[in-house]
């Protein structure tokens, strides 16, 4: 165990230097993409905001079912299937048909290929809708995969919109990730006050232009209250233009009264439609509805054919800016709610770094002093191995561009405390062997051989628990698990190779003298 060939020694220190050199790139700035790697600081250390958003897709499920009603009725009429008691519930469509028509109905709903009532989802090998039959009552509802498909589409789309909105606000290096099947994790380094972002993300921003009706309308109508004037208006359900037709929106000041307004430009299709409707309806009022609230309902003065228009409505410049931003970035398919929020101010982060670093240094010094006192020259070996251990740990964290959190620093400090364990196990074992063996070399050899089994067993059990922490733990726990697991690996390397090599040098030099540990 004590014989090291030159090539072995070289490769040990080559690996050590190769890894630990990366710990230095954290302190110097090199403009090379590979050497530019640094350990990232977690939000708890650099300050910032962590938001976990939940996509509430229940309303989408109902919407999806509702959208199938018209084509379904049309198809039933086409095939002359008589239906009655047609009811749309929260999550199902119910109606009665004649028992004899059931085969025909099944043909409609189970038709593969272009089926506008029931889409076949290839990736799940399943239909979007399922049905059950109770005597002559039929119940149609979303299948398991239909729901999954709808939800994941909603989350993917929401992530896209969230990303656009956050990019528009212009925060530095935001991270936006999908979490589980209905959550979005947003990390915003450097954001001290996430209230504005929360507000912007909380709005679906579904914009529509619709005509104000007097009484009945062929598409049905609904009542709205205009936000500022509190006037109640009745608005047609027919949507003339929606936010999808917008290509740009900017906050501006009105030329006449200097009020903040939002000006928008429409795409080609939108311009044509807007031009036609405004020409046909001069003198009528056009309501601008955002998320089920009427912003305003101006009278159409003239036909607007250029594809540009403005929205006015008692805005401040800030609200006009926000509205323009929301319109530019598009509507969310469904509202998002913040289910978890953690914000750390930059000075608390700085304090935490300082406290973490100070306790790391003090802990390190204490351990180093104790080991030197306890094991003299071999204590120094243990300390060299401890330092190289830390350098390699830093190097690997840098290579992985890992995120260092406060619990992560605690993990490093714990590594310092526990890393010497491997050395202690070896030295204590050697001490025992020295009592029985005459030859120093023999005693050292046996000591290393016997202790390595224990070291492996002991470290593997801890490694198992920290890997499980990494996989199942969340947030702060993960950061702790990363540094602890890497620390265990570098500990094994430094004890098994570096301590052993240094010890072997001393033993060979003093092969005939008495060695005391």
């Amino acid at each position: 165990m004590l014989n090291f060939s030159n090539s072995k020694v070289l490769s040990i220190y080559f690996i050590f230097i190769l890894i630990s050199i990366f710990s230095l790139t954290n302190f110097i700035n090199i403009d090379d993409s590979f050497l530019k790697k640094k350990i990232n600081l977690g939000l708890d250390l650099q300050g910032g905001s962590y938001l976990l958003l939940e996509v509430d897709s229940s309303s989408l499920e109902k919407k999806r079912l509702q959208s199938r009603v018209v084509p379904l009725k049309k198809k039933l009429n086409e095939k002359s299937i008589k239906f009655e008691n047609f009811i749309i519930n929260e999550n199902s469509i119910n109606f009665k048909i004649d028992q004899n028509d059931f085969k025909n109905f099944e043909q409609i709903i189970n038709k593969k290929g272009s089926n506008e009532i029931n889409t076949f989802l290839d990736q799940y090998n399943s239909f979007e809708l399922e049905y059950s039959k109770n005597k002559n009552e039929i119940k149609i509802y979303l299948s398991k995969y239909g729901v999954i498909n709808l939800r994941s589409a909603a989350v993917d789309q929401s992530i896209e919109i969230v990303r656009r909105r956050i990019d528009e606000i212009g925060t530095k290096e935001p991270s936006i990730l999908k979490r589980g099947n209905n959550r979005i994790l947003v990390e915003l380094p450097g954001i001290k006050d996430p209230d504005r972002i929360k507000e912007l993300l909380g709005k679906t921003a579904e914009l529509s232009f619709r005509l104000v009706t007097k009484g009945e309308d062929e598409f049905g109508s609904e009542k709205f209250i205009i936000t500022d004037s509190k006037e109640e208006i009745s608005v047609s359900k027919r949507i003339i233009l929606s936010g999808e037709n917008l290509i740009d929106a900017q906050p501006k000041f009105d030329n006449l009264n200097n009020q903040p307004i939002v000006s928008f430009s429409l795409d080609r299709l939108g311009s044509q439609r807007f031009g036609r409707v405004t020409t046909e309806n001069i003198g009528k009022r056009l309501a601008i509805v955002l998320d089920n609230e009427a912003i305003s309902a101006p009278v159409i003065q003239d036909s607007i054919t250029g594809g540009n228009g403005t929205i006015s409505g008692n805005f401040t410049f800030q609200t006009a800016t926000d509205l323009a931003l929301l319109l530019r970035s598009g509507a969310l398919p469904t509202p998002l709610s913040v289910v978890e929020e953690r914000t750390v101010g930059p000075d608390l982060g700085q304090d935490s770094i300082e406290a973490g670093v100070v306790s790391l240094i003090i802990g390190f010094i204490l351990v180093v002093l104790f080991m030197t006192y306890k094991y003299k020259i071999f204590g120094i070996i243990a300390n060299i191995s401890l330092i190289s251990n830390l350098l390699m740990l830093m190097g690997i964290l840098t290579l992985l561009e890992a995120t260092l959190t406060l619990p992560g620093i605690a993990g490093i400090i714990l590594t310092v405390g526990m890393a010497v364990d491997a050395n202690v196990l070896i030295f204590e074992r050697i001490k025992e062997e020295l009592r029985n063996e005459n030859s120093n070399i023999q005693a050292f050899d046996l000591g290393f051989k016997k202790s390595i089994v224990t070291i492996l067993d002991a470290n593997i059990t801890t490694l198992i628990s920290s890997i499980i922490l990494f996989i199942f733990g969340s947030g702060p726990i993960k950061g702790f698990a990363v540094t602890l697991s890497i620390g265990l690996l570098t500990t094994l390397f430094s004890a098994y190779f570096i301590s052993r090599h240094l010890a072997s040098r001393i033993v060979f030099k003093n092969r005939d003298n008495k060695i005391s540990i």
């Binding site: 507000e199 914000t343 306790s359 351990v367 364990d421 196990l425 067993d457 198992i464 702060p476």
Partner: protein
């Protein structure tokens, strides 16, 4: 120096006191309950710093009144002028709530108010965090047990699991007794305690296994005693260095790491004790002998 303490003699006394402690802990956990933080209970945590000398803790408490937040818990936190406020908000869905609370506090307290930390955990998420925390602990235990069972024998597995339950229960019991907060980082601490205690136990078990082969005529009680003595100085030194590092975090690591490092300190002390006085006696009660290991050897 060769240690030669008679640990075996004290096994019985130690086991009785361990049993008492475990029962007391379970009793505390059941009847006094645990002080769950917002991670597991849901709610809001605000850490604020005010620079005005005149502000008293009662003023801070008062600034949260009439917001209809229910029970608001305010305490001083580290430096003078730093406060930690916790409450469970009933009407969680109300948008901008945090914004309103912040404005309200800023208006009521004089001087500069700095919101150093704001955390808000919804009831759904807190439930999931608790579940995933418990899952992580159970899985880690199961995986380690499996490893011990593969590397040693089932008796050793049983011994180590009892030692670990002993450590975890007493640590949590102490947290209940002292009304310390249980949050995500405490789960990490508990898992590390599990790892540490296992580590310690494995070192002694390794030696017991070795000595069972070396001194096949000795009884398990004597072998345990011999093995504990042989590994004693390692046990003491490693515990000392680990504790040195942990005490350094506890004193200098700032308020956020206090709970974590305290849990670890308690855990390391109990874990060291349990590998000597819990894990080893169990091998005796389970009649482990040379045959236990050799049988397995013959099979292979």
């Amino acid at each position: 120096m060769i240690n030669n303490f008679n640990f075996e003699k004290n096994f019985k006394l130690a086991n009785i006191s361990s049993l008492c402690l475990v029962f007391a802990s379970v009793f505390m956990i059941f009847f006094k309950g645990l002080n769950f933080g917002i991670d597991f209970k849901g709610g809001t945590l605000i850490e604020l710093r005010c620079d005005s000398e005149n502000i008293q803790i009662s003023d801070v408490r008062a600034s949260f009144n009439n917001l209809n937040l229910g029970d608001v818990n305010v305490k001083e936190f580290g430096k003078k002028g730093d406060y930690l406020i916790k409450f469970e908000r009933k009407n969680f869905d109300e948008k901008n709530s945090i914004k309103i609370i912040k404005e309200n506090v800023k208006n009521k307290l004089q001087g500069n108010i700095d919101f150093r930390r704001v955390e808000n955990v919804g009831p759904k998420v807190s439930k999931e965090l608790l579940e995933s925390g418990l899952l992580a602990i159970s899985l880690a235990l199961a995986a380690m047990l499996f490893y011990i069972w593969v590397r040693f024998e089932w008796q050793f597995s049983i011994g180590s699991i009892i030692a670990i339950f002993h450590d975890v229960l007493i640590t949590i019991g102490l947290f209940s007794l002292l009304s310390l907060e249980i949050n995500l980082s405490i789960v990490a601490a508990v898992l590390t305690i599990v790892g540490y205690s296992m580590n310690d136990t494995v070192v002694i078990y390794d030696r017991i296994r070795e000595n069972l082969i070396k001194y096949s005529s000795l009884k398990i009680g004597e072998i345990s005693n011999k093995s504990i003595n042989e590994t004693l100085s390692r046990t003491v030194i490693t515990s000392t260095t680990t504790l040195l590092a942990l005490i350094s975090i506890f004193i200098l690591g700032g308020e956020i790491l206090k709970g974590f490092s305290l849990a670890m300190i308690i855990g390391v002390i109990i874990g060291t004790y349990s590998s000597i006085f819990v894990a080893s006696p169990i091998l005796k009660y389970l009649n482990v002998s040379y045959k236990t290991i050799s049988k397995e050897k013959e099979k292979n």
